[in-house]
């Protein structure tokens, strides 16, 4: 039998060559930007078939803690129909857990005093399950004795790593407590690290802390790491996830004169680009605490972004070793005077992770001689965020004589944001307006109202209130599906 080899040879060689020529080039894996983890996200206004639920976590002291008047949890039903399947679980620092179903009528609000729920516990964690969304949950804490006030939305986030950039254990008078809440069934185990004036510290009992399922652990820092005017805390959860907050109470007797109450959620997300609302240019600016939670040396800068695009302010550079932090007291820099409102942008040059907080507090040495009356500024800590949203809800708790401030700023580095505001209440709100990159707008409102903010590009919404009772600021609630990170 005869056979010819040439045709087969040609075909085979052609196929082999073709295999390499037509090989689909696989692009290198594009490092996908991590989905930003918002402190709170609300499922709001979705059709029934697309409804997803929310789980709210509130964490704070009860009135059993010295100095705290009360802790109130407010549940607002934004929907016109009554809530379905709302489940309330309250766990305390003594290991007790109670669960019950609750009902909130449409467009109404329910206030729960935790003191009525728990008799003896100093700290509680509350989990509120809203299977159909459309429910806002916020926490109100008052410590009138210390001019302390904190009002803010509860979070919807748990995480396995947290940073609390700022705290103080200045003695006497200042007390710092780290609150660790495990809302889940299984126990969690966490390691705590602290950075005080003497550098990175960890104590024997701060490693392998067990937070039992559905319980709160309050880690007292004042006795363990005393006399630290600035104390940063890191929480690494080995197993499970937690909700973490830092509680600061100061009675004004500390050397710095710090006075007030602040409960600030830890930063679950750390990134290389962080944003803060900054200052409206009229009030005394606060301080920015920047922390390097990574293992590497981070070089970065704090950028001042004035509303006037023609103005340039020299940024504040910093270099931080692993675990190191730096506090930049903005009030000490004359170059920030007279520039008007500005927002703050903290960035690391190599996009390495950072964490930051903006601290506003009363300090005795900042009290000018000609200050009128008693300066009851309290203390307020606002964590920096790396995300924005195009749809926010926020509660403004203004009163006549003590208006609340609604601040919207555009953290974007490139795009202009067109803002729309509305409310169901009879309140006059400005027409839509635009914000340039880095620009901010502040609205004074002397009413308590729920405001919806919609933007064409991600913005950040903050509410502030300053009054005799203290000062407080908090981010609004971003609506689920509208959150995105700010790309440099």
């Amino acid at each position: 039998m005869n056979a010819v080899r040439l045709p087969a040879l040609v075909v085979i060689i052609a196929l082999i060559v073709g295999a390499f020529v037509f090989q689909v080039q696989i692009e290198g894996e594009v490092s996908q930007s991590k989905e930003p983890l918002a402190y709170s996200e609300l499922s709001f206004g979705l059709p029934q078939e697309e409804t997803s639920g929310d789980v709210w976590f509130c964490l704070g002291p009860t009135n059993k803690l010295d100095g705290v008047d009360d802790q109130t949890i407010n549940i607002s039903n934004l929907s016109s129909v009554g809530t379905e399947g709302l489940k309330w679980t309250i766990s305390d620092s003594e290991g007790n857990v109670a669960e019950r179903a609750i009902q909130v009528e449409g467009k109404s609000q329910l206030e729960i005093l935790t003191s009525q729920e728990k008799d003896t516990a100093e700290y509680v964690g509350v989990t509120l399950e809203a299977p159909t969304g459309d429910v806002l949950v916020d926490q109100y804490l008052e410590a009138s004795e210390y001019s302390g006030l904190d009002q803010g939305f509860c979070g919807t986030t748990t995480s396995s790593s947290w940073v609390v950039p700022w705290g103080t254990t200045e003695r006497p008078g200042a007390k710092q407590t780290l609150l660790l809440y495990n809302p889940f069934q299984a126990a969690a185990v966490a390691d705590l690290l602290f950075v005080g004036d003497q550098g990175l510290r960890e104590t024997l009992d701060s490693q392998g802390i067990v937070i039992p399922g559905r319980s709160v652990v309050a880690y007292e820092l004042t006795e363990r790491i005393p006399d630290a005017p600035l104390l940063s805390s890191y929480v690494e959860v080995r197993t499970g996830q937690l909700v973490v907050s830092g509680l600061s109470i100061a009675d004004g007797t500390a050397p710095s004169g710090i006075k007030g109450l602040s409960i600030v959620p830890g930063s679950p997300e750390i990134g290389g680009d962080l944003f803060l609302p900054g200052s409206d240019g009229e009030q005394t600016p606060g301080a920015v605490a920047i922390v390097n939670p990574s293992q590497l040396v981070v070089e970065g800068e704090l950028v001042i972004r004035p509303g006037d695009p023609d103005l340039f302010v020299e940024p504040f550079g910093f270099v931080l070793r692993s675990g190191q932090r730096q506090v930049i007291e903005l009030s000490e820099y004359p170059r920030l005077e007279g520039i008007g409102p500005y927002s703050l942008y903290i960035r690391s040059f190599d996009n390495l992770n950072l964490s930051a907080s903006y601290i506003q507090r009363f300090l005795s040495d900042s009290l000018s001689e000609d200050a009128e009356g008693t300066a009851t500024t309290g203390v307020d800590v606002l964590p920096a965020v790396g995300y924005g949203a195009t749809y926010w809800l926020t509660k403004v708790l203004g009163t006549s004589g003590n208006p609340a401030k609604l601040t919207i700023f555009n953290p974007s580095l490139k795009s202009i944001a067109a803002i729309n505001l509305w409310t169901e209440d009879e309140v006059t709100l400005p027409d839509s307006f635009e914000l340039d990159p880095g620009d901010r707008a502040t609205l004074d409102l002397d009413v308590s109202v729920l405001i919806e903010v919609e933007s064409s590009s991600p913005v950040i919404v903050i509410t502030e209130w300053l009054g005799p009772e203290g000062r407080t600021s908090d981010y609004g609630i971003s609506v689920e599906g509208t959150v995105s990170s700010i790309q440099r």
Binding site: N2, A3, V4, P7, V24, P131, F184, Q185, A186
Partner: protein, 1045 residues
């Protein structure tokens, strides 16, 4: 007559016309020993002798009265002598032949020879003429008297009797001239009586085979002549080999030759020569033993070895025999020994028991066995033995400790018959319960697990590892017609060295192993179907052991083979189609369409046959079941396997990729170097290679975006092609290349040998580990305990364990599943998975899977916070996130899940993470699980478990302990029917979630059973079809004709 005493001739005076003539008296001695039907003719021949002075004595060694009657009726004056049972002449001694009558001659005749009427006279005349002591006659064939049967013989150096004539030699008088012989014809010969007595007669221990040779030898030693009387003719009555074998069964030369040889040397040779020859015979015995063992001739070996003992046992009689010859008064003439042969021939006869010209006398079965034994120790067989030895050595830990439970290699269920029941009843509990029986072969494994007295891990190990020898034998069969042992060796070695099956083994994939085992056999049948040389007669002479069958026989055999392969893996159809197309394209490009039409028609026919056998699959396809549902889910992403990896069979982690390029070298060289039909084979093989590679390439490039089988299954045709091309290339060394310069041939041979060594290195090294890279431990050691199915000691716990949801890369899941999202799979099993959970299924059939899938996606999107409640409805008690094939550090197939999976499950308020686990997996316990069988209490609305007892594979007896509505979470929910036994309602009502429920009072008992379906009758029908196909194949098999070179 020298050295003989003067004797008085005993003659008889016969009056003739010319006066009185003295005629010597002859005693004709007919020795009978179970004579055949021809005895009468023999007696008539004797009666017809024209020699006048002839006395006839019939020796009956069996004491049969019927012989006596028969003899007396034809030879009334003969005498009959009854001697002890002994074939041949050994019973005849001078003593018992001594009669009152004085005879000059004895004429010995066997009972299978018919004498011519003049035979005796002519022999006597010849003897008298030359004064011979022994005279023989010419024996011709019984059926064809033109053929010589016996014209005397001689002996060689070692005393082996050697015929003077060649087998089937025609009598042309060529032996009539030289009358002196060493020994006369063994069937009839004349001996002087005094000579007979002088030499001591026949050796009583030599019998028929060498008795006359010894007598003649001894006669010659004492100076007598031995002659052939060519005019005296006898006709042998043995007309067939079987008759001859039967007759000579007790005097088989193979059996008795070696002992007789030694005895004759010891009896008849001088001491010095006897000693020398004995040493030579010792060496011959040793070599002959080795030969016999290698060639499978065990009887010959035994006779060689036993000859020495036998002779030593009878050494006394040897001394007696020697005394007749070696006395002081007699000088012997040893110079008259006739040795006709070259020493090598004598050596060969003694060592092998075969004459160079000897005709085969063994039975066909014995010849087949000897050929097989030869093949086994040929290059091909040695390669096969070496390969299987390496495989066995490399699998030792797997065979002794069982296969690790990875991928689809999960344990056989505790009750192995569950696999059979699942197949028979068409339902299995996978995915909450589906009407799907899974792969048919699982029923067989279940049966084996139940029947065999070995543990089920060993059964699984054998079932999986048998793919290797099956594939190797398949290649052996495929390449047999191509060439000799070397080509078979190359093909088997290459096929066993290809990394593909080891990749499949390492990832726990059963399908590619089935393809690896079955495809060589299928391609062999396809090649035979095409009928092109060397597999058929088209284009030349068929190769050795090529089997040629009729058209319908080829259809049934191929159809049966395909059906059997599909029983184990339906997807084997895909590489079969690739192979079929490759053969067509290869044939066309080789320049010949010979046999293509036959191939196409037979393939169509075989496909139809297998479609009939697997009619259930066929009907499912027609009814709309997606063919993708037969494919196990995989995480084969685009670009995962580059062309370089494809060409080196690098689809997994086994082997050394840089060495794997060697597999293509022999086929490439063969494509250049072969000619003729070998080139055609190489071209077709190359298109098998191209077909396998192309299939993998297509899928890898994303040009075929639907579900596909594993790369290892698609690439198997390439492995077969490489082996087939290698066989053709190696075969060409002895044929095509032999015509070229020797240097080129040696270079190519050296290259091939080097390539083969490179190819087998990874396998040989991997065999040292003893488990082919499979992990030492698997999850079945610990996970069942964590799931609450076993106690700390590994003993099963009697409990209503819940279902387990497995999430991970599809190839890591311990059960067949569906896609959850983006290369993450989902599987649902009742407890820890077993073999019955490994078959793919149509996920749309499982209500549980559909609902769980939706709930999981919601949880991953953060839309729900109580996933446990959603999945608990389907009694899911645990979620297992799996990221490796085995516990760290044993598993080496890590595929991490995206972080969001862990975050999503950790954030569920009713899931509790189980602590203290290996890094390879995470287990979440569901705090909101509901039992599979539960009664929803009227008062509280809570689900309470019932007492459940399995009364059959698909029937369950339940007893309620509370009042309420019984509901079951067995899918398909509507396919289960409830019947009351005591106190329960039979009316089915819809529950709050739309599920069927039945009212049960506390203490009432009912039975839940799967509704009747057609599956069992379908299975019965299927088995009948298979049986019919087996019979058809067997009948068509008997019509084959075989070609051998």
């Amino acid at each position: 007559m020298n050295n003989l005493e003067e004797t008085n001739l005993v003659e008889e005076s016969v009056s003739t016309a010319s006066g009185d003539v003295f005629v010597p008296k002859v005693q004709l001695i007919l020795v009978t020993h179970n004579p055949g039907d021809w005895l009468e003719e023999v007696l008539l021949g004797i009666a017809a002798q024209d020699y006048t002075s002839l006395d006839v004595t019939v020796i009956d060694t069996k004491r049969r009265e019927s012989i006596e009657e028969q003899v007396k009726s034809i030879l009334p004056e003969s005498s009959i002598l009854h001697l002890k049972s002994s074939p041949g002449f050994s019973a005849l001694t001078p003593k018992n032949l001594d009669t009152a009558k004085n005879h000059l001659f004895y004429f010995f005749v066997t009972d299978d020879l018919v004498l011519d009427a003049t035979a005796v006279r002519r022999v006597v005349e010849s003897a008298l003429e030359v004064n011979a002591g022994v005279a023989g006659l010419k024996v011709v064939g019984g059926e064809n008297t033109e053929l010589l049967q016996d014209v005397g013989s001689t002996i060689d150096r070692y005393g082996t009797t050697v015929s003077r004539h060649q087998p089937n030699e025609i009598d042309q008088g060529q032996y009539d001239g030289k009358r002196e012989v060493f020994a006369g014809s063994s069937s009839a010969f004349l001996v002087r009586k005094d000579l007979f007595e002088t030499v001591g007669g026949f050796d009583p221990l030599l019998g028929l085979v060498d008795g006359h040779t010894d007598l003649c030898w001894r006669a010659r030693l004492v100076g007598a002549n031995v002659v052939l009387s060519p005019n005296a003719v006898g006709r042998s009555m043995i007309t067939s080999e079987s008759q001859g074998r039967k007759r000579r069964r007790r005097v088989d030369p193979t059996r008795f030759g070696p002992r007789h040889r030694i005895r004759m040397i010891w009896s008849n040779q001088k001491i010095s020569r006897a000693i020398m020859l004995s040493f030579e015979l010792l060496i011959i015995t040793l070599l002959g033993t080795i030969y016999g063992l290698v060639r499978g001739r065990f009887r010959h070996t035994l006779s060689l070895l036993s000859a020495w003992a036998w002779n030593l046992r009878h050494s006394r009689s040897i001394r007696t025999r020697r005394s007749f010859i070696f006395s002081k008064e007699r000088s012997l003439d040893h110079s008259r020994d006739i040795l006709i042969d070259a020493p090598s021939h004598a050596f060969r006869r003694a060592a092998t028991g075969r004459d160079p010209n000897q005709r085969e006398t063994e039975s066909n079965l014995l010849i087949k066995f000897q050929n097989f034994w030869m093949a086994l120790f040929g290059p091909g067989g040695l390669a096969l033995i070496f390969g299987i030895a390496v495989l066995g050595f490399g699998s030792r830990h797997l065979l002794t400790r069982g296969l690790p439970a990875i991928g689809r290699f999960q344990p056989i269920p505790e009750n192995p018959l569950d696999l059979f029941h699942s197949w028979w009843e068409g339902w299995r509990p996978t995915a909450g319960g589906i009407l799907d029986s899974g792969v048919d072969a699982l029923a067989l494994l279940g049966g084996l697990g139940w029947l065999l007295p070995v543990n089920s891990e060993t059964v699984m190990a054998i079932a999986v590892l048998s793919a290797f020898p099956l594939g190797a034998f398949g290649i052996w069969q495929l390449v047999q017609p191509i060439g000799g042992g070397r080509s078979r060796a190359a093909a088997v070695a290459i096929y066993l060295a290809v990394p593909t099956p080891y990749h499949a083994l390492g990832e726990g994939r059963f399908g590619p192993l089935v393809a690896y085992a079955s495809l060589p056999w299928i391609i062999h049948r396809l090649s035979i179907a095409q009928g092109v040389v060397p597999y058929g007669e088209k284009g030349g002479t068929p190769g050795p052991r090529a089997v040629i069958r009729s058209f319908w026989a080829d259809i049934t055999v191929l159809g049966l083979l395909l059906s059997l392969a599909i029983f184990f893996e339906p997807l084997v159809v895909i590489p079969t189609v690739i192979a079929f197309v490759a053969l067509l394209v290869g044939s066309a490009l080789a320049g010949s369409f010979a046999g293509v039409l036959r191939l196409v028609l037979i393939t169509i026919g075989a496909t139809a046959v297998s479609a009939i056998v697997h009619f259930n699959i066929f009907i499912d396809l027609i009814n709309g079941r997606s063919w993708e549902s037969w494919m196990p889910k995989d995480n084969w992403t685009q670009g995962l396997i580059s062309p370089e990896s494809i060409f080196s069979f690098d689809t997994g982690s086994f082997g050394i990729p840089s060495l794997a390029w060697a597999f293509l070298i022999i086929p490439a060289v063969s494509l250049i170097a072969t000619n003729g039909w070998r080139l055609a084979i190489v071209i077709r093989s190359w298109f098998l290679i191209v077909g396998g590679f192309a299939a993998v390439y297509f899928v890898d490039q994303g040009w075929f975006t639907r579900q596909t089988p594993a790369a290892e299954l698609l690439i198997v045709p390439a492995a077969v092609g490489v082996a087939l091309a290698s066989a053709a290339g190696v075969s060409s060394l002895g044929q095509d290349l032999a015509a070229n310069a020797k240097r080129l041939k040696y270079i190519v041979a050296g290259l091939f040998a080097g390539v083969l060594v490179l190819a087998i290195i990874p396998v040989v090294f991997a065999s040292l580990e003893g488990r082919w890279g499979l992990p030492e431990k698997d999850f079945s050691d610990t996970v069942p305990y964590l799931l609450g199915e076993e106690d700390v000691n590994g003993l099963s716990i009697e409990s209503t364990a819940g279902r387990v949801l497995w999430i991970g890369a599809p190839n890591l899941l311990p059960a067949a599943g569906t896609e959850l999202e983006d290369s993450v799979g989902l599987a649902l099993t009742d407890g820890y998975p077993h073999l019955g959970d490994q078959s793919p299924y149509d996920s749309s059939q499982s209500e549980a899977i559909e609902e769980l899938h939706t709930a999981l996606l919601k949880a991953l999107n953060g839309d729900i916070s109580r996933l446990g409640e959603k999945i608990g409805v389907w009694s899911v008690s645990h979620i297992v996130l799996i990221e490796n094939s085995a516990p760290v550090p044993y598993g080496d197939n890590e595929t991490p899940l995206p972080e969001k999976y862990f975050s999503a499950f950790i954030r569920q308020l009713d899931l509790e993470r189980v602590e203290g686990l290996n890094r390879s997996l995470e287990i979440f316990s569901n705090t909101a699980v509901e039992p599979i069988h539960a009664v929803v209490r009227d008062i509280t609305g809570r689900s309470v478990p019932l007492e459940v007892k399995k009364t059959g594979y698909t029937s369950i007896e339940v007893q309620s302990i509370v009042d309420g509505s019984y509901r079951w979470r067995l899918s398909p929910v509507d396919e289960w029917e409830f019947s009351s036994i005591t106190g329960a309602s039979s009316e089915v009502q819809l529950g709050p979630k739309g599920e069927p429920t039945v009212r049960m009072a506390s203490g009432s008992i009912g039975q839940l059973s799967l509704t009747e379906n057609d599956n069992s009758s379908d299975r019965m029908f299927q088995m009948l079809i298979l049986l019919a196909l087996l019979l058809l194949t067997s009948w068509s098999h008997s019509e084959r004709k075989k070609h051998q070179l």
